[in-house]
Amino acid sequence: MVNKPGPELQERLRQLDLLAPIDPDVSGKWRPAPRIPSLSGKVGGFLGNRKANADLLLQSIQELLEKHYELGDAVVLDKFIYSRPAAAEIVDRLSERCDFVVTAIAD
C-alpha cells in the first residue's frame, strides 16, 4: 500500500526510528471523477486502446447506454499506442466535449 501512514503507524515508525519508503502524498493525487446524477442527454466519450476487440466492447457499451439512457451524443476515439497514455490532444478533445468517458483496455 502507498497510502499515507495513519497516526498509529507513524507512532510505531517513530518508536522504532524508521523512515517510510513511500511518498505519503501520492494517494491524495488521485480521486474518482465527480459522479453525474444521470446519463440522459449527456455526451459520452468512448476511448479504445487499439487492441483486438476493444472496439467491439466499447461499441456494445455505447449501444447499451444509448438504449437505456438516451445519450446526447458520443465521441469515439482510439489511443495510438495501447501501452501508453492517451495523447494530450485526445484527452483535451474528450474533456472539452464529453460529460463522461468510458475506456476499454482489451488485451
Binding site: 500500500m1 502507498v2 501512514p5 503507524l9 510505531r12 515508525l13 522504532l16 526510528d17 524508521l18 523512515l19 517510510a20 519508503p21 513511500i22 511518498d23 502524498d25 501520492v26 494517494s27 493525487k29 488521485w30 487499439r50 487492441k51 483486438a52 501501452s83 501508453r84 497514455p85 488485451d107
Partner: protein, 341 residues
C-alpha cells in the same frame, strides 16, 4: 536497534505491504542518513516522479528503499542512475509497470564500477549468491512498487510476472568478451561506468555444443522468433547475451558483433502466414503497422523479422566460461536506455 526491535521493524514492513515478500533491513534514520551522505546530495533532491501513481522518488526515499533491499551505501549511485534511466520516455515505464505482460526491468552494469562493486558478470550471474546483484536490483524493484505504486494485482496487472521482479541485475563480463564492451559500442569510454535498463522477459537459455558459428547462430535465430514471442508483434529492442564460449567461437571465426546482428536480423524471421495463425496479429491488422515497411502484410510468404532494424538487436557477453550456453532476453516493444553512473 536490539533484536526485538529489529524483528518488530521487519514485521512492520510486512504489515504495511512495503516489502516484496522477503524480509527487509530496517530503514533506520541513522542508516538512511549514511546512504544519503554517500551520494553527496540533498535528501530532498527529486530524482524522478514514478508512474503509475506518481510517487516522488527523492534521494532520501531512494535511500530508504536501498537500505531495505540490503544495499551498501556505495550502491546508491547505481540505483539512482537506474531510476533516472527508467523514466526516459523510450523505456515506457508506465506501460512496463502496469502491463499484463511478463516483463520487468533488467539492469546491466558496465565499466570499472561493476568490478569495484563486485557485480557478478560470470557464473550464475542471473542467479543467487552476489550481494550487489541481489540488492541493487531489489532496491530498484522496491522503489518501483513503493514509490511508483505498481502493486501486483492492483495497478500492476502482470498475468504471471517473473522471478526478476525480485531482482534482475548483472554486469557484462568484459574480461571474457572478445569485443568492445557494450557501453563502448554505444559511444561511452571504457573508463565510464554505465547502467542499462531494459524491459525484459526472463532469460531463455540457448544450448549449442558444437563449434560451427553459422549453425550456432541458426539455433539462436530460431529461438528468437517463436510465434509466442511478443516481439514478433510489437518489435522494439531485444537482447542476446552470449556466453564466453560462444562469443570466443564466433570471434575466432572472424565474426564481429555487427555481423552477428545482421545474421540474426536476417534469420530470426517468421512468415506472415504463420504470424497470422497465432498470437496478437490474428484479427488485428493494426499490429502490422509495427512491422518494418519492407514487409508486405498482404503477402503471406513474406518473412517478418523479430525487430524492425538489425541495430535493435543488442549483443553483449556474460556468464561463466566453460559452458555451451547463451541466453536470449526478449523485450516487449519499447526501448533500452543506457545512462552514465
Amino acid at each position: 536497534m536490539n533484536t526485538l526491535a529489529t524483528t518488530d521493524a521487519i514485521e512492520l514492513m510486512y504489515e504495511t505491504g512495503w516489502t516484496d515478500g522477503l524480509p527487509t533491513v530496517p530503514p533506520t534514520r541513522e542508516k538512511v542518513e549514511q546512504f544519503i551522505g554517500y551520494t553527496g546530495r540533498s535528501p530532498d533532491d527529486l530524482i524522478a516522479e514514478l508512474p503509475p501513481m506518481g510517487g516522488q522518488a527523492t534521494v532520501e526515499r531512494i535511500a530508504v528503499n536501498a537500505v531495505m533491499a540490503g544495499c551498501l551505501p556505495e550502491h546508491m549511485p547505481v540505483v539512482i542512475a537506474a531510476i533516472e534511466a527508467l523514466i526516459d520516455d523510450r523505456f515506457n515505464l508506465r506501460g512496463v509497470q502496469c502491463s499484463t505482460g511478463i516483463h520487468s526491468p533488467l539492469l546491466i552494469v558496465n565499466g570499472p564500477l561493476a568490478r569495484t562493486l563486485n557485480i557478478n558478470s560470470s557464473y550464475n550471474c542471473f542467479g543467487q549468491g552476489w550481494r550487489a546483484n541481489a540488492t541493487i536490483g531489489r532496491a530498484v524493484k522496491l522503489i518501483l512498487v513503493n514509490l511508483g505504486g505498481a502493486l501486483p494485482g492492483v495497478t500492476n496487472k502482470a498475468t504471471f510476472g517473473h522471478p526478476g521482479g525480485y531482482t534482475y541485475c548483472i554486469a557484462e563480463n568484459e574480461e571474457a568478451s572478445p569485443w568492445d564492451p557494450f557501453h563502448v559500442d554505444l559511444g561511452f569510454a571504457p573508463e565510464d561506468s554505465t547502467v542499462t535498463v531494459f524491459p525484459a522477459e526472463a532469460p531463455h537459455n540457448i544450448m549449442y555444443h558444437a563449434v560451427r558459428p553459422r549453425d550456432f547462430l541458426t539455433v539462436l535465430a530460431d529461438s528468437m522468433c517463436t510465434l509466442g514471442n511478443v516481439q514478433m508483434y510489437v518489435m522494439g529492442d531485444t537482447f542476446v547475451i552470449l556466453g564466453p564460449e560462444h562469443a570466443r567461437m564466433l570471434a575466432e571465426a572472424g565474426w564481429r558483433k555487427r555481423d552477428i546482428r545482421q545474421f540474426l536480423f536476417e534469420h530470426a524471421r517468421k512468415p506472415v502466414s504463420l504470424l497470422r495463425r497465432g498470437g496478437p496479429a490474428q484479427g488485428d491488422s493494426r499490429r502490422e503497422l509495427l512491422w518494418p515497411r519492407f514487409v508486405d502484410p498482404s503477402d503471406e510468404g513474406q518473412m517478418v523479422p523479430v525487430v524492425r532494424r538489425a541495430e535493435d538487436i543488442h549483443i553483449l557477453v556474460a556468464g561463466g566460461p566453460g559452458g555451451p550456453h547463451s541466453v536470449y532476453v526478449p523485450g516487449w516493444g519499447s526501448r533500452m536506455v543506457i545512462r552514465k553512473i
